[in-house]
Symmetry: none
Subunit: 215 residues, 3 copies
Amino acid sequence: MFTGIVEETGTIQAIKKTGLSMALTIAASKVTSDVRLGDSIAVNGICLTVTGFSDNQFTVDVMPETVKATSLNGLSKGSKVNLERAMSANGRFGGHFVSGHVDGTAEITRIEKKSNAVYYDLKLSPELTKTLVLKGSITVDGVSSTIFGLSDESVTVSVIPHTISETIFRTKAVGSIVNIECDMIGKYLYRFLHKTEQTKSNQTITEAFFSENGF
Amino acid sequence: MFTGIVEETGTIQAIKKTGLSMALTIAASKVTSDVRLGDSIAVNGICLTVTGFSDNQFTVDVMPETVKATSLNGLSKGSKVNLERAMSANGRFGGHFVSGHVDGTAEITRIEKKSNAVYYDLKLSPELTKTLVLKGSITVDGVSSTIFGLSDESVTVSVIPHTISETIFRTKAVGSIVNIECDMIGKYLYRFLHKTEQTKSNQTITEAFFSENGF
Amino acid sequence: MFTGIVEETGTIQAIKKTGLSMALTIAASKVTSDVRLGDSIAVNGICLTVTGFSDNQFTVDVMPETVKATSLNGLSKGSKVNLERAMSANGRFGGHFVSGHVDGTAEITRIEKKSNAVYYDLKLSPELTKTLVLKGSITVDGVSSTIFGLSDESVTVSVIPHTISETIFRTKAVGSIVNIECDMIGKYLYRFLHKTEQTKSNQTITEAFFSENGF
C-alpha cells in the first residue's frame, strides 16, 4: 500500500531480460536505508518485491503480466525512476490509497505551464477513464495527482513545481508514456454499481415495472 | 492488523481438539523472537492470540467459528503454516490492509508456470467474489496477492518466485484448500453501496417522485 | 493511536465531578511504569490525557462532551477499567487502528458461552452500525473485536477466554453499557462514498435518462 508521494528518483543500473520477464537493478539512497528482502517498493508506481540489495542499490523481479501492462519496456540503463517505499504503519491516512497495481499506460499529449502549475493532458483508454471522477485521484508514474479535466479518452492533471522537481515529471515530454493507476475506491464502486445495474437491467424497466409501481 | 507479507513458515507441533474448538502448538523462530502473551499472529492468514510460548514455539486457541470458516481442520502434525506478526508501528504496508478475519476458503483448480511467475486459479463462492475487483488485492493463506483474473466463481492470482519460496504456496497442489480474506476496502464499499441501494429502492417510485423530478 | 489490545485493568480510586466535566484517579501498575504528563492512555477505549501521576496511579481530565458520549458516568470508586497506552514506535498493531474517539455506547443484550468462546450481542444505534461490515473490526470498551453478526441495530462479537480474563469483559452482564468505536477505515470510506453520492445525485433524473431507457 502506498500514498503516491514519491520519496526519491533512482537510476536504472541494469536491466536483465529473460523471456517475457525482467530483473531491474536500481541505484537509490533513501529507499535502501532500511530495505529488507521481500520489501515492496513502488517503481514508477508499480509495486515490486525486493529480491536483493547492497549499499546503494536494490534488485526487483518483474512478471510478464506487469512488463506487458506498464511502461517498463521503455526504460534503459541510466533512466530515472520514481521510488516510494510501502506506507509506514504510523503514516498518515493520505487522501488516496495506492496499491501499486498499475491499470494501464497513457500518452502525454499536451504540457502547458500556467502561473505556478503545469498542466498535462494524458490520452488513455475509456476502460480506465470510466472509473474516474472529476477532482478525484489518479496515480501517474506513482505520483498521486488530482483530476482537473476528464473526458472519455483523456485526463488533465496539474502538477506543482515541487513535485515536478522531485519526480521524473521533469524528464517527460509530449509523447512520453506514463503508468496509470486509477483510484481504488472508484474501481470498486464502478464494479459494484455495474454488477447491481447488470442484475437490475436484466430486469429492464418494462411496462410491467411501471404497473408494479402503480402507474 | 497485518499486511500479507509472510515472515516465515512454521511447523505444527501439536493439535489439541476440545469439542469444536482447537489449540495449536507451532514451532517458529522469527515470530517468537519478541513474542508476548496476548500478541496477535496470523497463521495461514487467520489472526490468532498467543496464549503460551517457549523458546521456539507458541500456542494459540482457535474458536469454533474460526475452525468452521477456515482450512485449519486440514492441518496435522508436521504441516507447514504461513506466519506473520501484527504490523509493527514502524513497519510498512508492503501488501495491503489485512485484518486476519478470514472470509472463507477456496480450492486451487489450476497452477500454471509462465516465465518467472506462477498463476493460480482459485474456485470460490460468489459471496466472496462480489466484493473483489480486477487488479485489486486478496489475501491467500495470509499472502497479499494481486487479482489478475476475476469471474463470479473464480479468481486468478499470480505469485513471484520469491513469494513461492518463502511461503506454503510451495506445498500447494491442484485441489488444495486455501484461506481467503477479501480486501477490507472492497467489503466496506460493497456494504455501503448496497445499504444505499436498499434505502433508495425502499422509496418505491411514487407519483410524488415523478413530480419532484418535473414529470 | 491505539490498537485495542488491553494491557491491564486498573481501578478507579477517585472521581471528582465539576459541573459536566470530571477528573478520574486510576490505580495501575503497567501503564504507569513509563508514564509522563500529557501521555495518552485509553480508559475503556476513551483516549484521555494524563494530567498527574504518582507511583501506582494517574489522573485524567474528562471533557463534558466525552462524559456525555460514553459510559464513564456509570463508574464509581472501585470500578475496574480497561487500560492501554498509545502505540509505541516499536509496538505492534495486534488489533486494528483505534483512535480512542468513542462513537457512542451500546447495551449488552445477550451473553452466550459456546465451547471456548463467549458471544455478546450489543444493541446500538443504526448511526453506528451503518459504517460496520461483517468480519470487520469494532472496539468494545477499548477491546479490538471481530464482528460475527450484524443487523441495523445490533452487532455480535465473540471473545476468547484469554481476552475475557485480561479485561473488564469479565465484569459485564446483560444490561451493561459499553463504549463503542467503529473502525476508522469504515468511517473514512462511508464518508467518502456519501460525498461522491451527493455530487452524483445533484445530476437530477432528466428527460434524457428516460429516453436512454427507451421511454
